[in-house]
């Protein structure tokens, strides 16, 4: 199964090359561009900043996500993506640290060749890291699908998504390194990074297929978190080199 070559020459469980650049935008408090080959998303974070009126919450920061499609108007799909992004980021943003403030997260789709939601979640996570606000951890998103022949695929392209029987965007927490992620549900047998933060499915599949998608996605999310950590550490090292001794 793993050897079945795909149209772009990848194996079934191979991810596309990842690239991540931080701090591209001058005015934004944090920004990042994340690309998975031809899928590319630019994310910017403004905040914590003051907001006015009804939206102000004395207990926590108000988070808004604005999803800008590559072209056309914002429709139901974009609204749904905004909601999924906001709720997923709720898992890592410690909103109670910044009461009475607001945070705007803007996602601009640059190009879409499948796995768009996963790419956007990874981009906003990177942008949040760039902002420098405290986070309770990192999350990694991956898209996983099952084609007509019943083979599992990772990181689907647009054409593969259209042909697939079903595909799903999965988000897992990063394995905590130094800090302890406080979760009330820490079970005795499963580590934190096995918990599923977000799952958005499209198409129908059997329950067993979904569970195998979960296993595969979990393994892939480790690779993605590893990448985002390395790229984060590299950029930190770059800063260290610049600072005069």
């Amino acid at each position: 199964m793993g050897s079945a070559a795909r149209r772009d020459g990848r194996t079934a469980i191979q991810l596309r090359p990842l690239a991540c650049t931080r701090g591209l935008l001058n005015r934004a408090h944090g920004s990042a561009r994340w690309s998975q080959e031809n899928t590319c998303v630019l994310a910017a974070v403004y905040g914590p900043k003051s907001i006015s009126g009804r939206r102000e919450n004395p207990e926590r920061a108000t988070i808004e996500v604005i999803w800008k499609p590559k072209s056309g108007m914002t429709g139901n799909k974009e609204k749904e993506a905004e909601l999924v992004l906001r709720r997923s980021l709720d898992y890592i943003i410690i909103a109670t640290l910044h009461p009475n403030t607001g945070m705007s997260i803007i996602v601009q789709v640059i190009s879409d060749d499948g796995a768009l939601l996963a790419c956007a979640i990874n981009a906003t996570t990177a942008a949040l890291v760039d902002t420098g606000i405290p986070l309770s951890g990192l999350i990694a998103a991956v898209s996983c699908g099952i084609n007509k022949e019943g083979d599992l695929l990772l990181d689907l392209t647009k054409s593969e998504e259209q042909e697939a029987q079903a595909h799903v965007c999965l988000v897992f927490p990063n394995r905590p390194l130094s800090m302890k992620v406080e979760t009330s549900i820490k079970s005795d047998d499963e580590p934190v990074e096995h918990g599923l933060v977000t799952s958005v499915t499209c198409g129908a599949m059997s329950v067993d297929d979904y569970l195998s998608c979960l296993d595969l996605g979990r393994a892939a999310s480790l690779k993605i978190s590893e990448f985002s950590r390395t790229s984060l550490e590299q950029s930190q090292r770059a800063v260290e080199l610049v600072t005069p001794t």
Binding site: R86, H194, V197, S199, T201
Partner: protein, 307 residues
């Protein structure tokens, strides 16, 4: 009520519920019951009635606890697109009018309404409930466009479950009228074959064979949905609006009648779902699907015995 530094030792229950909703729920849930006396894994009682809107081609009113949904299907004739000359179309829209909850305001549809519309469209498409070939009248010339509108009348949590049940029931109630096609290619309602009104109607119309008889829409695998809220290691089935605001982490499982997973929709939240929780949610959804199937079957038998 044990005093635990919340100053609530001699507070009235209703006041405690409003002031400390999280703590109020915590006390119930730790004892594995809910304020409305349900067990954690029990859904609210559900009722379906078919055909409440006589002007619609298919309609249903669904109540899940207090959550009330009215769904209607209206058929219109359209010219099919060139990519699918023998395909009809189903357009879903979910409305949250200001009457349904204090949060919804008139004007542009709220984010929640857009999301549920998207979820419903996705569930109907993924489960292949409606075979779009069924909605064809004459390939390349005419097909049915079905507008499925769901109105939320009372939003008391688990909106997607009730909306999907209402959609499915309205489609199960849908009668496709019998139509004929004239030589010019326009679709007209077929005349009843009584022969009495012959002289009144145009002869040309009578010569036209009826292209489609009045019929029920054949449904494929029916999607059944169950929303769950997560609290610590517990799974609460079918949460109310109050439970949804207190517990934050909500997920929806949609299973179709052949046992396939149509959607596992978990939009984030503060509690990640472990494999055990995922499996528990799926098995709860399977059990719920049998209950809902029974309710719908009963509603159909009742409706048929009345007409």
């Amino acid at each position: 009520m044990a005093a635990s530094g919340d100053g609530g030792a001699d507070m009235e229950v209703e006041a405690f519920r409003r002031l400390y909703p999280a703590r109020f729920y915590q006390r119930y849930l730790d004892a594995a019951v809910r304020p409305d006396a349900r067990l954690l894994n029990r859904a609210r009682s559900t009722s379906i009635s078919l055909g409440p809107v006589p002007t619609a081609d298919g309609s249903a009113l669904v109540k899940v606890g207090n959550t009330t949904m009215l769904a209607g299907v209206k058929l219109e004739v359209m010219t099919p697109s060139s990519e699918g000359p023998d395909l009809g179309q189903v357009v879903v829209e979910f409305h949250m009018p200001p009457i349904c909850s204090p949060q919804s305001r008139p004007g542009r549809p709220a984010e929640a309404a857009c999301t549920i519309t998207e979820q419903l469209t996705n569930a109907l498409k993924s489960s292949e409930l409606v075979d779009l070939h069924e909605l064809s009248i004459a390939p390349g010339k005419a097909a049915w466009m079905a507008y499925l509108d769901i109105y939320c009348l009372d939003a008391d949590g688990s909106l997607l479950d009730a909306a999907l049940l209402a959609s499915v029931s309205a489609l199960a109630h849908l009668q496709i009228p019998s139509v004929a096609m004239t030589e010019e290619g326009t679709v007209i309602p077929a005349l009843p074959e009584t022969g009495i009104s012959n002289h009144l109607s145009n002869d040309k119309h009578l010569q036209q064979p009826t292209v489609s008889e009045q019929r029920r829409l054949k449904l494929g695998a029916i999607p059944w949905s169950l929303t769950c809220a997560l609290y610590k290691k517990h799974v609460l089935a079918d949460p109310t609006a109050e439970e949804e605001t207190v517990l934050h982490t909500i997920l929806t499982v949609i299973i179709d009648s052949s046992g396939r997973l149509v959607a596992f929709y978990k939009p984030g939240g503060s509690i990640p779902a472990t494999t055990n929780i995922i499996q528990e949610c799926i098995s709860l959804a399977k059990r719920r699907s049998k209950e809902l199937q029974r309710s719908l079957d009963e509603a159909i038998t009742q409706y048929e015995s009345e007409t």
